[in-house]
Symmetry: C2
Subunit: 276 residues, 2 copies
């Protein structure tokens, strides 16, 4: 797969870009990241992603070593080499080489940007709706976009085996978030999504903005038992936008088909994204 | 610092050994590790470490790609190049290069072994006792030796600033474990250490073995309030063995000096380790 990486001022094929075996992002998970989607030459909602990257970095005692403008220019350079209508842009920042195995020097971070073609899930997920499976888990520190997605990665095989598109984390009778997505339900005109204990997704933010006025928005604790009376459901994530959900484990959501309100938001999102 | 790394059948200076920017250990924390100490040419308690490595790997759907015997032989080769009286041996296994950013092929893992000189903490910690600081946190899945030590790494600066040797995780009124160690207290002849919600350390196991018969062992939930009536305290970890603890935050433990029972265990440990 074609992919390019910017690191230390140079752009080379990503497959040839390496980090030290001492990198504290690898050895200890001390790092943060963002995934941005680019439509053509336009990195979508970059400002919002970089704001979150800097906030996540700050929590770990890290600093993004280049300006937003430099990141933007670098991404444009990478995109012009890749030449894809849609590209995934991954920005990674770690504490650099570990000191005594566990400490780090924030002035010598590892920072790189990779671009590659977006991996597309089968179109039927958007046309007929997707399935989720639940897992009893709640991420620690989900507000920070740190590198610990161990359980998400570990559960991919179970997810694929179940014919599901995403894992939904449930804990103590409440629904939190997808392994790499935010979760929404619709009950009539009420759009409900968890707020606490989840990563506040950039796509989530846009959806709420697009929904304002049209729907009654409820950002709150969502009980798992409420799913039974949901009319519609969907997940949002940068690389897959809005994915309509019609089944969670063996539970059919609403009528088991993509509902009109989800379709409305999918169209609204497309219009917004394509208009740049 | 002199250090060597074995990866893909070759031994080269660790500083020159790299992993892909796509490694799922880096991007998603999907990996496990062990740290073993070698006294001379003898990797100490290697069997116990490798047993735990295989158990941790199994949980993540990974397999250690080489036999225990091959690992032993490889470590001996690395040690003969390093030539240090005490060496730290770090064994790392990840899911290899990420597939679509989050999945992995367990048949193509990343596996490497690094050896380097052991970093020694100041001798006064062993002679006069060390200080710990507490942090309100409980690790997720601590029984598995996965790569997520983000909070431990993040807190190193606060630890150093406080003149402490380790961070003690406390949650819901209970004491769990050090950021990279197990925690013990002594009340008279009772040796008390948490059992649930902690990583079951290899050194911890040996200490309990050495203490059997001499002390009454209590592996159980340990309330923070119990620290006030503790006579002695210590932490155990592979690279630092037993470190006597005389202060936790501003709380003096017992008389604030290293107690006779801790000294007894420190001597017992030394005898056992040096006898091979």
């Amino acid at each position: 797969m074609k992919s390019y990486c910017w690191m230390n001022g140079k752009i080379i094929p990503a497959k040839q870009t390496k980090v030290s075996v001492y990198d504290i992002g690898l050895l200890r998970g001390l790092g943060v990241f963002e995934v941005v989607i680019a439509y053509g030459k336009h990195p979508f909602l970059l400002k919002e992603h970089l704001r979150r990257l800097r906030a996540s970095a700050h929590y770990l005692g890290l600093h993004v070593p280049v300006s937003d403008k430099q990141i933007y220019i670098t991404i444009l350079k990478l995109l012009s080499k890749l030449r894809e209508p849609q590209a995934l842009v991954r920005i990674v920042l770690t504490g650099g080489e570990a000191i005594h195995g566990i400490d780090f020097n924030p002035c010598q971070p590892t920072f790189f940007i990779v671009v590659e073609k977006v991996f597309k899930i089968p179109a039927q997920n958007y046309e007929q709706g997707a399935k989720l499976i639940t897992f009893n888990y709640r991420r620690e520190n989900p507000c920070i976009k740190h590198l610990n997605y161990r359980e998400a990665a570990r559960l991919q095989k179970a997810k694929n085996k179940a014919g599901a598109i995403e894992i939904l984390y449930v804990s103590g009778g409440s629904v939190y978030e997808g392994a790499t997505s935010n979760f929404f339900i619709l009950k009539g005109n009420r759009l409900i999504t968890p707020k606490d204990g989840v990563l506040i997704g950039v796509t989530r933010g846009l959806i709420l903005k697009l929904a304002r006025g049209k729907f009654k928005i409820e950002e709150r604790l969502l009980k798992f038992s409420e799913l039974k009376s949901a009319d519609e459901s969907f997940i949002t994530l940068t690389t897959k936008e809005i994915v309509p959900v019609v089944k969670i484990n063996n539970l059919k959501i609403g009528k088991g088909i993509i509902g009109p309100r989800t379709k409305y938001l999918m169209n609204k999102f497309k219009q917004y994204a394509r208009s740049g």
